[in-house]
Every structure is written in C-alpha cells, then in structure tokens.
C-alpha cells in the first residue's frame, strides 16, 4: 500500500504538535509495510528530498513570491506542493492523506487529478479554536475545512469530542468520521540523568512541583492555572508552580504573579527542549492541564507516560483520556477553585497520586502507543480501498501522463 501524505510541518520544521504526529505516524506505518511519501515544506537544516528506510520525504519551497496574508501564503505553498508532486513524483499512490485545512487545497486537487481516495485528518477546527467564526478570515478557513471534509472519503478525528465538534460544525454524517487517537511516545529518560539534581533546579526539596506544559494562550487556560495557584498558596506554602511554554499570555501572567508577591512560588521556564520537559515530567508531583479548548491533549498523555497523576479540565479530548479517580482528576473548565481543590486533595493523598499515576502509565501503553494508532490507520486505509475497488470512480487507464 502506498500513501501520499501532506503536512505543512515535518521535523525539523516544527510549528506545533503536528510535526511529531506525522513523523511518528509515518514511521509506524512504514514499520507495518506501508510505503509513505511525505510531502512537506522546506527547512534550512533539511534536504529538499531524503529517504528514511522506505519512507520518502519531499520538501517544497514555502516562500517564493510575496503573500499579502497567511491564507494566501497557505494557498501558495499548496500550489508549490502540487507542482512538485506532479513534476517529480509518480502517481502510483493508493491513498492521499492530508492533515488539517493547511494542505487540503493540494489534497483536493490531487484527489480529482489522480481519482484516488482522499483521507483528511482534522486535528482541530477554526470554529473550536476561535470559539465561533467572527470575521472573513476565520470564515474562509472554516469553509476550507468544510470543503476538505466534504471532499474526503473518510475524516479522521482524534477524540469523540472532536467527532461531535466536526459533525456539528460541518454537518458531516457520523459514518464518515473515524476516531483514531493521537499516539504518544512514553517519556523515557536517559539513565545518566540525576533526577534529584534535576529537581533542585526547579524547586526546594520541601516543595511539591505542580507542572503546566503548553502554549500560554487563552484556550489553554493558563490564566485559570495561575488563579488556582494563587488560591492554593493562600492556604499552603509547600507547592511550586512550574509553567513550561511560550505565548502571548506569558508577560501578562508574569506581571500578575509579581504584583501578587508570589514570584518565588512560580517558575516560568519559557520554551524548553524535549529532553528538559521529560525531566520535568519525571520530577513533578502533579501535572495540570486547565484547557478551555483541547481537541486531544497529548501533553496529558505524556505526563501519564511518566507515571504522573494529572488534573485536567473536563473538556475536549481530555475528557476521553482522563478517567476521573482512575488515572487522574477532572474538574470543570474555567473553575480555578475546583482546580485548586483537586490539586490540594492529591497533595494530601500521596497514595492516590501513586495509584492514579500507575494507572495512567498503563492507559498510555494500552491505548495510545503509535503502533496501535498505526494499526487503526492501516485498517481505515484498507476499508477505504475495499470500498474504492467496488466503486466506479477511478482514473481511465493511461489518461494521466504520470501513470
């Protein structure tokens, strides 16, 4: 089986979580015998074309002519992707798989030129990211997402929550949607790393580390976390709140903490490399994910894979991942008081922390390994190809010059 996969980010070009997702998915698909050609965008430190085993990576120019705005830049790189594929690659792919609206224009065009089935993974929607559609810019993205979903043979979403969201936002029938969760790589540490030494970089020995990892934006609820911390610190002083990540809210939150006289109890690390984050997952006591909108919540799984208990908002994909009282605690989103009560409970009950942490670790291995995700994806591809073989929508032999 040959798959042409399109994504606007692929390592070393990393913008958000998508690069890692497509990297590990394509890696595991290749291990299962699927031949993946990954088409992505250029990066100064990566060749324009390379092969990793049977996986072929083709990178296209991301910027050739000026673009007046983000959307027209997206269309332009889609165009360069198309030109590259039609010029340099053969059309012997069974499936075209695109991720999000960002590569949907190219995917839709290829679907019609090659007459091959299109799979679209919707990682999040513009409607969800913006809590509604408020201007022409957002409406254009929203309608492009609708079109991608309309043109797709099947649509992949990462959680039951996202399935409901996509059904509601685009009017898609449920049998067109497949829930395949995102995978996670268990947080494994280099054996030479001293956790005791590492821990002392972030907190005093008598302080519990309460960890937040994520972009500092409104939808991640970082401001809720800081308010919950303030409330908790008014009752107990044995907690240190470590916030990893960058974002527009960071400066504002740092000022808030300073004005409250609580700077010594907060540590804003900024962006940290993956290895440092792994260390933090291992030395923290509780990981907190207070998101207001979270299609999946991979960071919660990463914390679980380090055997840590999580406290998460009962929203989005986090609701699917966290089972209340089993592998973590769920609290109402936008409720700092509920959040600090849950953190306080876990600080007072170390045996529950340990039990839920172990359960979380098992959850990751049983449900969210990349091997399991690739198996489900291959199953989807096979079902699509069976349906495709039975249908009449196919290319005429030798009509496409690239055949």
């Amino acid at each position: 089986m040959k798959v042409l996969m399109l994504s606007w980010e692929y390592p070393p070009r990393i913008i958000g979580g998508l690069a890692r997702h497509v990297y590990w998915l394509s890696q595991e698909l290749e291990n299962m015998g699927v031949e993946v050609t990954m088409v992505s965008l250029d990066h100064p430190s990566a060749p324009m074309s390379e092969e990793e085993g049977r996986k072929k990576i083709v990178r296209c120019s991301s910027y050739r002519f000026p673009s007046p705005d983000f959307i027209s830049w997206v269309y332009q790189f889609n165009y360069w992707m198309l030109e590259k594929i039609l010029t340099d690659l053969k059309n012997d792919y069974d499936i075209i798989h695109v991720h999000d609206w960002l590569t949907a224009p190219a995917g839709i065009t290829l679907k019609h030129i090659f007459r091959r089935p299109l799979v679209v993974t919707i990682h999040s929607t513009e409607f969800g990211r913006r809590t509604g559609i408020h201007d022409d810019f957002q409406r254009h993205i929203h309608e492009t997402e609708w079109k991608a979903v309309f043109e797709a043979w099947k649509v992949v979403v990462c959680s039951e929550y996202m399935k409901r969201e996509v059904m509601a936002a685009f009017g898609v029938p449920s049998d067109k949607l497949w829930v395949i969760p995102n995978g996670v790589n268990p947080v494994s540490l280099d054996e030479k790393v001293s956790l005791v030494g590492a821990r002392s970089r972030f907190a005093e020995p008598w302080e519990h580390i309460i960890l937040y990892v994520g972009r500092m934006v409104f939808e991640k609820g970082t401001h809720i976390f800081v308010e919950a911390a303030r409330q908790l610190l008014s009752r107990r002083w044995d907690a240190k709140f470590v916030l990893v990540g960058e974002g527009p809210l960071r400066a504002n939150l740092t000022n808030t903490v300073e004005n409250l006289g609580l700077s010594s109890k907060f540590y804003f690390t900024g962006f940290l490399p993956d290895e440092e984050i792994k260390v933090l997952y291992n030395v923290c006591d509780i990981a907190v994910f207070p998101s207001l909108y979270e299609p999946f919540g991979i960071v919660a799984l990463e914390a679980m894979s380090a055997g840590k208990v999580v406290v998460a908002s009962d929203t989005g994909g986090l609701s699917d991942v966290v089972m209340h009282g089993f592998n973590g605690l769920k609290v109402a989103p936008r409720d700092p008081t509920a959040l600090q009560v849950a953190i306080d409970y876990l600080l007072n009950h170390p045996e529950d922390r340990w039990r839920m942490g172990r359960n979380g670790l098992n959850t990751v291995y049983e449900r969210f390994s990349w091997e399991s995700i690739a198996k489900q994806t291959t199953g989807l591809y096979q079902q699509i190809l069976e349906e495709y073989d039975q249908g009449s929508w196919k290319p005429k032999p030798k009509q496409i010059s690239l055949l």
Binding site: D69, I71, Y75, N78, Y79, P105, H112, H140, Q399, L402
Partner: protein
C-alpha cells in the same frame, strides 16, 4: 479552453470569438469558466462548463483565485474523463493559468497562454498582492509552451519583462493563425 469569463466582458468575448472560429474549422472545444452555479451546457456545437467555487471569499483577489483552483481542477478532471483524449490546453490570463498549468503537468499536454494585460497595468501601486501576481505571471510565462498576445506593444513588454524567448511568443490579430500555433506546440 480555460477562462474566468465566457461570452461577457473583454476577455470572455475574445474567448467566445475564438471558440466560434475553432468550431467552424471542425475542432472540438470544451470551455470551462467560473460561474455562480455549476452547470454543463451543450450550446449547439460547443460544450460549456460552469465552475462554481465552493469557498466564496471577501479576502484578496489572489486568495479567491487560489481557492477556486481545486474546483477548477476538479472540473477539468471530469471533463477530461468524459471527453477522453484532448490535444491542447489554452488558458486565458493568469487567473486560470494556474489550473492550466496543473492540467499540463497532470495530462502531459501543451499549454498555450494568452495574456490580455500585465499586473503592472492593472494595479494601483506596488503592494504584496500585485507582487505575488507578478510572480505567478512570470512563472506561467516560463512554463507555458506558447504565449499568444493580441497586441504587439504588450507582447514586447511581456517578452522583455519576463524574459520570454521570442520563439515562444506569437502576436495574433482576431485569432488568425491560432491553429498554426497549436500545431507548432504539438510538433514540439
């Protein structure tokens, strides 16, 4: 025959005139143009397809051109599928030059491009949109197999501005000699 307009406006009238001439000489022509609603219309001796963009945008011109690319390519694909083989793609202006280029690359057929004006004549001043359009005008001139222009002055400016080899450029009045241009690119 790819065009934004058909049968109306400056370019649309020129295209309709060309189609009439080709059909009178016994050629088989399929016309695709942008329309409010999708339709297929057999008008006597010619088949006209209306391509309706799914995503209607109030953003920049270039955004609406690009967002219609997938719709246009889908229409080309179904026309080619139904019609079987074809010989030439003739795109009118840069607006539909990009789907024309897609068709050239996908089906391995020569692309003839007609430009009716240059972005530098249309724009109100230098801005990111016009620089982007100029980039694509140049790109299309590079990759088209032949350029057909109606006006000698415009032809000279295009050839010089975008460094197009003279042997690729043809000045035709009222489309006289267009079949010879088609034959030449097919032989090449």
């Amino acid at each position: 025959m790819l065009s934004w307009d058909y049968g109306r406006g400056y370019v649309g009238s020129h295209v309709e005139n060309l189609v009439g001439k080709l059909i009178s000489k016994g050629h088989n022509v399929h016309v695709l143009h942008i329309a409010g609603d999708e339709y297929t219309d057999v008008r006597g001796d010619r088949i006209v397809y209306g391509v309706a963009p799914h995503v209607k945008t109030n953003l920049h011109t270039i955004t609406s051109i690009f967002s219609s690319l997938g719709d246009y390519t889908r229409a080309i694909s179904s026309v080619v599928y139904d019609a079987g083989d074809f010989d030439i793609i003739h795109a009118h202006d840069w607006l539909v030059g990009l789907p024309g280029l897609m068709a050239k690359l996908a089906y391995g057929k020569p692309l003839v491009l007609t430009l009716y004006s240059l972005e530098e004549d249309r724009r109100g001043g230098i801005n990111l949109v016009s620089l982007s359009i100029e980039g694509f005008e140049r790109h299309l001139c590079d990759l088209a197999d032949a350029l057909v222009i109606h006006d000698e002055g415009l032809c000279k400016r295009i050839a010089e501005k975008y460094e197009v080899p003279w042997e690729k450029v043809h000045v035709l009045h009222e489309w006289d000699g267009i079949v010879d241009v088609y034959r030449e690119v097919l032989e090449r």
